[in-house]
């Protein structure tokens, strides 16, 4: 059974402390997506993010459950920042806890791929 935490925030992302749900957690994988100065050919000072939150939350829960059917993981924490995010700050935080590193790493990679394909979140370059 996968425990899921999904949140959007307009404030800088604060990493929640790692809480191990059992004595059987052997791997903690964390990913931070960080805003870069160069996006394509543009030089940016930051990016503006927006989301269709109610739909995004629903689809994230569903895709996390789908991935966990194949990759045995105990917990996923997803935090996406919205609004203006300056260069070098974190726009996305993902933490996956599992007994083994293989499922945790694959869960993390696939969750990001699928979020980028289907979850209604947008980065908008602005002046």
């Amino acid at each position: 059974m996968l425990t899921k935490h999904v949140a959007f925030t307009t404030a800088p992302i604060v990493l929640p402390p790692v809480e191990l749900p059992s004595l059987e957690i052997g791997a903690c994988v964390e990913f931070q997506g960080i805003v870069r100065e160069i996006e394509g050919t543009e030089l940016l000072s930051g990016l503006h993010y927006e989301a269709y939150e109610v739909m995004a939350v629903r689809h994230l829960h569903r895709l996390f459950d789908e991935i966990a059917n194949r990759e045995a993981c105990a917990s996923v924490t997803f935090i996406h920042r919205l609004g203006w995010v300056p260069v070098q700050e974190t726009s996305l935080f993902l933490r996956v806890l599992a007994a083994h590193r293989g499922p945790a790493l694959r869960f993390c990679a696939e969750a990001i791929d699928r979020m980028k394909a289907d979850v209604p979140i947008w980065k908008v370059a602005r002046a």
């Binding site: 993010y49 269709y52 109610v54 726009s91 979850v119 209604p120 979140i121 980065k123």
Partner: protein, 83 residues
Amino acid sequence: MTHFDPIVQIQLLAFAQTAQQLGFREQSCEFSPDESPRRLLARLVPALEISGLRVAVDCEYHDWDAPIGAASEIALIPPVSGG
């Protein structure tokens, strides 16, 4: 025999570059449940180029040509780019 389409309210949502193009993020519209998203949009915002957009009905991706059905929200989804 004429077919009577019940006319009901739906919220039309737009995001990101689509909201910028349309000049609104949310708008209340009248629609009939057997209307498709493609026909609804052609009627409401005929200038909008929908190729490249997906449409979601009550938070689920929906076929452009399938009837909207009983729904309270329809959203235009430009290519997503979270992360």
